[in-house]
């Protein structure tokens, strides 16, 4: 095994890790604010991918161009989903919340198949195809762009949460929604915001992913386990945690697969994950 290959693999790992991070940030956001694990998060990603796909195939609009639109649409979708369904289970036991989002996951897959057929789609020859060579490392342009996009979105979310008044209100609602109401914070607004942003992040990931990953109704299933691992590893509710954990998982998966055999790559990630929790039960950056 040459250093060449190792470096190349490392770079690919970081890029895919950034995508994991982006998917996970939306998930951790919803969790952090509402204590709800959104099993349908992979399906948000799927919707983001389809949004990019349809705008591309119907109007020949480039996925990168339509990314803001995809993000907006998913934001609206998240808010809508909150207002229609989630609002009713805000105070329900954790188990029935799991149950609900699990149902939404199945529902969205069904709806996607119903509307768009179970076919595998993809976007070819968007503005970001091909690959570039950087200091001897060859990287797919779509992956590179997606990685950069992930960094930008993470930065925006981080800024929003930590530097804005709304972000503070979101955190307050997250920690005690009744007390937040006493501060004059409309908790329902915060919850819809969390779902909106959460879905928007998944949408962004979907839009970016659509440039190089096949699009089909069940595509969320491929990402959800890793997204859970990332959220958990980073610490439920921690955006920065999800960011670093995403990269870590990407790198471990790819390097582990290379060094120990690809059939074990998921196992390696899972073992690492359980190992970390053994020493830090609250995840890398979670609150105790």
């Amino acid at each position: 095994m040459t250093t060449d290959i190792l470096l190349q693999t490392l770079a690919s790992g970081i890029l895919i890790g950034l995508i994991y991070a982006l998917v996970a940030i939306g998930l951790t956001m919803i969790f952090g604010v509402m204590d709800i694990v959104n099993f349908a998060h992979g399906e948000f990603l799927m919707l983001g991918m389809y949004s990019a796909f349809w705008m591309f195939s119907l109007y020949a609009l480039d996925p990168l161009l339509t990314l803001p639109l995809t993000v907006l649409m998913l934001f609206a979708f998240g808010v809508l989903l909150y207002k229609l369904v989630i609002v009713r289970i805000v105070n329900a036991p954790m188990l029935s919340q799991i149950f609900t989002t699990f149902g939404i996951m199945i529902l969205l897959r069904g709806v996607a198949q119903f509307l768009w057929k179970p076919d595998f789609r993809s976007i070819e020859n968007s503005s970001v195809s091909g690959s570039v060579k950087l200091v001897g490392i060859q990287l797919g342009t779509p992956q590179l762009v997606a990685g950069l996009g992930a960094i930008v979105v993470t930065g925006l979310v981080y800024f929003f949460l930590n530097r804005t008044r709304l972000g503070a209100a979101l955190e307050a609602t997250a920690s005690d929604k009744e007390a937040a109401r006493l501060m004059g914070i409309d908790s329902h607004k915060m919850f819809s915001l969390a779902w909106g942003i959460g879905a928007a992040c998944a949408g962004a990931a979907g839009g970016l992913l659509a440039t190089f990953f096949p699009i089909f109704p069940d595509v969320g299933a491929s990402f959800i386990l890793l997204a859970f691992v990332v959220v958990n590893l980073g610490g439920f509710g921690s955006v920065t945690g999800a960011f670093w954990a995403g990269i870590l998982v990407g790198v471990i998966e790819v390097m582990g697969g290379l060094l120990l055999g690809p059939q074990y790559k998921t196992a390696i990630v899972l073992v690492l994950f359980l190992g970390v929790l053994m020493f830090r039960p609250q995840g890398l950056m979670g609150k105790a």
């Binding site: 095994m1 040459t2 290959i5 190349q8 693999t9 690919s12 790992g13 895919i16 995508i19 994991y20 897959r109 069904g110 198949q113 057929k117 179970p118 076919d119 595998f120 789609r121 993809s122 070819e124 690959s131 060859q138 990287l139 797919g140 992956q143 190089f212 990953f213 096949p214 089909f216 109704p217 069940d218 595509v219 299933a221 491929s222 990402f223 890793l226 998966e253 790819v254 390097m255 582990g256 697969g257 290379l258 055999g261 690809p262 059939q263 790559k265 998921t266």
Partner: protein, 397 residues
């Protein structure tokens, strides 16, 4: 007028739904041809449109069931089709794991089960009395691939020095890997690296890098659709390409494969059981495909053509049985001897051995050129010469 109910089990939702939808179309076409006839396919058995003549023109009625690629669901649905829908026979179920459980129900109930497209070799090693399979299984397919390499060497002097494999790690990929390991020495092939990966993966970087490190001339590959597409994209991204990719059907023959990858799909050789260009030898192929295409705007694939054939064989047997009695149908199936020219497959025919396996089936190899599948092996059926090696990524226009 009488109706003959046949239960069909396919994955209509969930991960296998894309294939399921195609198979469903193929079955509908087959039933429609039998029931209502179709112009221009006189050679096709039962195509006169009179239903099943020996059963007073009884029509075929298909009862669809969705097994969701879940073996337990498959078994339950088989049970239901038999007891409630009172189907006289079952056809299905694509996924080998589901075929395994569903056929077991049929076996216990004493209802014929015809499997047109599951490729797990073990299915016909169970000594079942009521189970029949028209498609060749993985054992033969692996043989075919190696046979091809042997003949290629004899004919053109091409011999891949280093061979590697990239197989998904589910039932099918695992079985294929095992067979490859077993058969390679017989063909004096040395498989330098065997890579297996989870089909639901999000990236194939480590897999491709592993392959790259082994630097093979030939990659034997078994992938489903999403991962097949992802693998080619990753090859290209990481600048990897062996002299040849010898793929094993499934993802590589999915309609979406070429559609998605366009030119990047070119030059891949894949194992198939059907190709449109075989029409020059068997006019039936084009005739029936035209019907299919005019209806569903897609061509047959190896999967849908096999399913089509499966139903035709079943219908033929019921007709010959002249009865809907299970035992009569079973005996008719056992007695099946359909010549190749009555099929839309490049097979010598359909004839079952004691285990229920069709002994006259055969695989072919096709190469994708300009987005079309061209038969390149067996050499006597080939419509084109093999292009070997594939041009490197940067040498393609």
């Amino acid at each position: 007028q009488q109706e003959v109910k046949i239960g069909v089990l396919y994955p209509l939702t969930g991960p296998g739904a894309a294939v399921g939808a195609e198979l469903r179309s193929a079955l509908e076409l087959a039933a429609d041809i039998i029931n209502n006839g179709a112009p221009g396919v006189p050679e096709l058995p039962l195509s006169a449109g009179k239903g099943l003549p020996n059963l007073k023109g009884a029509k075929i009625k298909l009862v669809f069931a969705d097994h969701q690629a879940n073996p337990q669901t498959g078994a339950s649905e088989a049970e239901r089709l038999i007891t409630q829908e009172k189907v006289v026979a079952l056809v299905g179920a694509y996924n080998s794991a589901v075929t395994a459980t569903a056929s077991q129900i049929a076996e216990r109930a004493g209802v014929p089960f015809l499997n047109p497209e599951s490729s797990s070799a073990s299915l016909t090693q169970r000594n079942f009395k009521w189970f029949f399979r028209t498609t060749p299984h993985d054992d033969l397919f692996v043989h075919n691939a190696f046979e091809f390499l042997k003949e290629l060497e004899a004919k053109k002097g091409i011999k891949p020095a280093v061979v590697a494999s990239l197989n998904e790690n589910g039932l099918w990929g695992t079985e294929t890997t095992k067979l490859q390991t077993k058969l390679a020495p017989e063909y004096k092939l040395n498989i330098a690296k065997q890579v297996m990966y989870p089909a639901k993966t999000t990236q194939l970087t480590s897999e491709v890098q592993t392959l790259k490190a082994a630097n093979p001339n030939l990659v034997l590959q078994s992938s489903y659709t999403a991962d097949a597409i992802l693998s080619i994209k990753t090859y290209k991204e990481l600048g990897f390409l062996p002299d040849m990719i010898l793929a094993n059907n499934a993802g590589f023959t999915d309609t979406d494969f070429v559609k998605t990858l366009g030119k990047d799909a070119d030059y891949v050789i894949t194992r198939e059981v059907w190709a449109l260009d075989l029409a020059s030898r068997n006019p039936l192929i084009k005739q029936v495909n035209d019907l299919f295409n005019s209806r569903y705007k897609i061509n047959f694939t190896g999967n849908s053509s096999r399913t089509f054939t499966g139903l035709m064989v079943m219908a033929d047997a019921i007709n010959r049985a002249g009865s809907t009695e299970p035992e009569a149908i079973r005996q008719a199936l056992v007695a099946t001897d359909m010549p190749g020219n009555k099929l839309i497959m490049p097979w010598k025919g359909v004839k079952f051995d004691a285990t229920g396996q069709n002994t006259l089936g055969q695989g072919i190899l096709t190469q994708i050129i300009d987005g079309k599948y061209h038969t390149v092996w067996p050499f006597n059926l080939a419509s084109r010469e093999v292009v070997w090696p594939m041009p490197k990524w940067d040498q393609r226009k």
